[in-house]
């Protein structure tokens, strides 16, 4: 048996952004950049490992909103247009950099990558990235789990249990639709947990969830193995705690691996440097400039000149960092295993967009880590389901209120920049529950309208919006989104109070916010 387990969790989430009325909305680039810089490169890494019969065994959380966008035809078409723009720019860059051989070589490598992205997306995957992940799960390579329907920070809705359950139920249903089977685990949005939440997760047949390390350490009974073994809540669901130390070692913005000066700099992109006319589609409305993916410099030390990026040096550094990761895990495991009656499990969890988009060399590092773990007898990649099959006698305790946000609680999602939203979000829930009570068994037109009302309420609850209001950068967009969904819901509510329905308008908003086709407004019904 291995001395220690590594449970690597990659959490893939983006808020639902879809604007069919406009030719292009900047925030749709969140999806396109994530696909081109992260998801497609990672799928190539996974395929390479599968081809070499190296087990992956990563826990991959896909949010329902992201799954909906990935399967949306309009967004798929627009992504291909985005890729075409990247390819066209690459062809121009090669001409522009004719007299700069090193930079030209970089541009050529990016162009090859983007052409490969298009080939994979269009020919190989037929635009269906969700299906690719589903296949990998079927083959036992990945464990795909879900998160709440619109990635709502659940502790701030604690007083509305039915709304919390609606987020969970809708997520489970949506996941089953996307991936062909119900999820066994849940990534709690922002690891936001409060005692009592575990009941709603268990009610929806989930077997485990992830929580922040301070949730485990402040659990109702002292976690005798800290975060290195899960806790079993009294009703049987398990809580796996993230290892803060490992997370910090990998992803710290001060001295984590991605900050190394040999890695490519995310910020220095030609999109912010070259002439607007040249950049074409990468200049958006109001002369706003965006990322193109053509970045030629290494990370900059303070006060120093920009240095040309050297991929071979960066690749060697990624290899070195993979060795370092393994070394640190072995050292930790050697210390811990003497004090435990089972191999310690180290849960390393990251937002997947770190790999590739921000940390360009991240996918290479990840591939190297998985290969090295496979070659090492002491460490083993494990998913929570496999861990629980092997070790089902776990300490009983309930984690404490916690999150992986700054200072470990709700500060990021509840502060002077965003606290104004909660009176409106909570009111919307109350009014929706009033509608559910008034119309307990509607069908036809009214049911359709009520379902859209429920959809708007769920969309208003996305934690992305208060996060962006606090952190930036697109604060006006985040504010607008919350207001829009609340406005849409309120309009439906007021119309129903007057027994009227504006079908043309509801059709329009349903066509725009077209996720959760199976949503039943009765999911908000109060249980007696």
């Amino acid at each position: 048996m291995s001395k220690g387990y590594i449970c690597l969790v990659l959490h893939a989430h983006l808020p639902f952004v879809r604007h069919p009325k406009y030719e292009h909305v900047l925030e749709e680039n969140w999806l396109y950049e994530a696909i081109t810089e992260t998801y497609l490169p990672l799928l190539r890494v996974f395929q390479s490992l599968i081809d070499d019969e190296i087990p992956i065994r990563i826990t991959f959380s896909v949010s329902p909103t992201l799954a909906a966008m990935l399967s949306d035809e309009l967004l798929q078409e627009r992504f291909i247009q985005f890729l075409d723009s990247q390819i066209e720019l690459g062809e121009k860059e090669i001409v522009r950099l004719a007299d700069e051989p090193e930079a030209k070589k970089l541009a050529e490598s990016y162009l090859i990558n983007y052409r490969l992205n298009k080939e994979d997306f269009v020919e190989k995957y037929k635009g269906q990235l969700g299906k690719v992940l589903k296949e990998m799960q079927k083959e036992g390579e990945l464990e795909i789990i879900t998160t709440s329907a619109t990635h709502c920070f659940l502790p701030l809705f604690k007083e509305y249990p039915r709304a919390v359950e609606a987020q969970i139920e809708t997520a489970v249903l949506s996941h089953s639709r996307s991936f062909g089977e119900a999820p066994k685990g849940m990534w709690l949005p922002e690891c936001g947990f409060y005692p009592g939440l575990e009941r709603y997760l268990k009610n929806n047949n989930l077997e485990y969830f992830f929580t922040a390390s301070n949730g485990i350490l402040h659990s109702s009974r002292k976690a005798k193995y800290g975060v290195y073994a899960p806790l079993r809540c009294p009703d049987g669901i398990h809580a796996f705690g993230i290892d803060l130390k490992t997370n910090r070692e990998v992803s710290s913005g001060i001295d984590g691996y991605p900050t190394d000066y040999s890695y490519r700099d995310f910020k220095q992109d030609v999109g912010f440097e070259l002439e607007e006319e040249y950049l074409g589609p990468f200049i958006y409305a109001n002369e706003v400039r965006g990322h193109t993916g053509y970045k030629y410099y290494s990370k900059k030390m303070d006060g120093s000149e920009s240095r040309l990026y050297k991929p071979e040096i960066a690749a060697a550094k990624a290899e070195e960092h993979a060795d370092n990761f393994i070394y640190k895990q072995l050292k930790r495991v050697n210390k811990l295993s003497a004090a435990m009656d089972r191999p310690p499990v180290t849960v390393c969890a990251f937002d997947v967009e770190m790999f590739g988009r921000w940390w360009f060399e991240g996918p290479n590092w990840l591939e190297s880590v998985l290969r090295k773990i496979h070659a090492n007898n002491s460490l083993e990649m494990i998913t929570p389901v496999t861990y629980l099959e092997r070790h089902n006698d776990n300490q009983i305790s309930i984690p404490g209120f916690s999150s992986w946000g700054n200072n470990g609680y709700a500060q990021v999602w509840l502060n002077s920049k965003n606290d104004w939203i909660y009176r409106h979000l909570h009111k919307a829930i109350e009014r929706l529950q009033e509608l559910v009570k008034r119309y307990p068994d509607e069908s036809g037109l009214k049911e359709w309208v009520l379902n859209q009302a429920a959809r708007e309420v769920l969309l208003s609850q996305a934690s992305d919006w208060p996060f962006i209001m606090k952190m930036g950068p697109t604060v006006p967009y985040a504010v607008q989104r919350v207001r829009e969904h609340l406005h849409n819901f309120t309009k439906i509510y007021e119309n129903l109070c007057q027994n009227t329905v504006n079908t043309e308008w509801v059709t329009r908003i349903e066509k725009k916010n077209n996720l959760f086709p199976d949503l039943d407004y009765r999911v908000f019904k109060k249980k007696s």
């Binding site: 900047l26 109001n286 050697n334 990251f350 709700a410």
Partner: protein, 235 residues
Amino acid sequence: MIRKRLKHFSLDILGSIAIEKGIKFDSASDKDSLIELLLEAFEEEQIEKELDNNESMMVKNIKYRILEDEELLSNIDEEYPLAESYNENRINLLLRDPSWAFAYWDVKENDIQEVRDSRPSGRLFLRVYEIKGEEVIISQIKEFFDIPLSLKDVSWYINLPQTGVNYCIDLIALFRSGEKTLARSNTITSPEVDIVENSKDDIFFQPDQAAFERFRRENEIPQRIISVLDNQYTN
């Protein structure tokens, strides 16, 4: 980049951006001076945001960075107005962390008017109760304190004096006719910040001595375990 964008705006728009951001400026400022002021404020704001961020929040923030700088749009409120008040008496309490809670409330227009009419003594205030159980009844109240409010206040951050304790809030109006509780909040529990001790299960109080001896022979023993063992043997 942001300087170039700011230069496109008129002095009036720059002024309204400054007001929206809470930046104080001299009304006689010219465009260039106002731009410098705004740039300085944006930079300070950005540094403040980044200092606060742990690694998970920093990575998350980068996910949304598709621009070099923030969009500078104004008048976005016009399209989707929200109610300023729901004209009801209510108060909700949200737990933010072990030391802070956030209360928001609404007051019926009639009651606001009655407070105004009751001046100078008429006022609104919050009464924060520390309670033993879940209910605010005399026998369960351990402590309470009042927070005076202005009629314009609609929310407040409340410093919670103790951890592991239940709190509840009343929104109270003082009319000429007397005190009236307009609304009572839900109860919250401030979480414990210490690790709960339960020595019966704690392996460090009853370590497997044989395992440790074996480990000691094979490896260096981590300092923390040694100090726990030492404490055990010296107590």
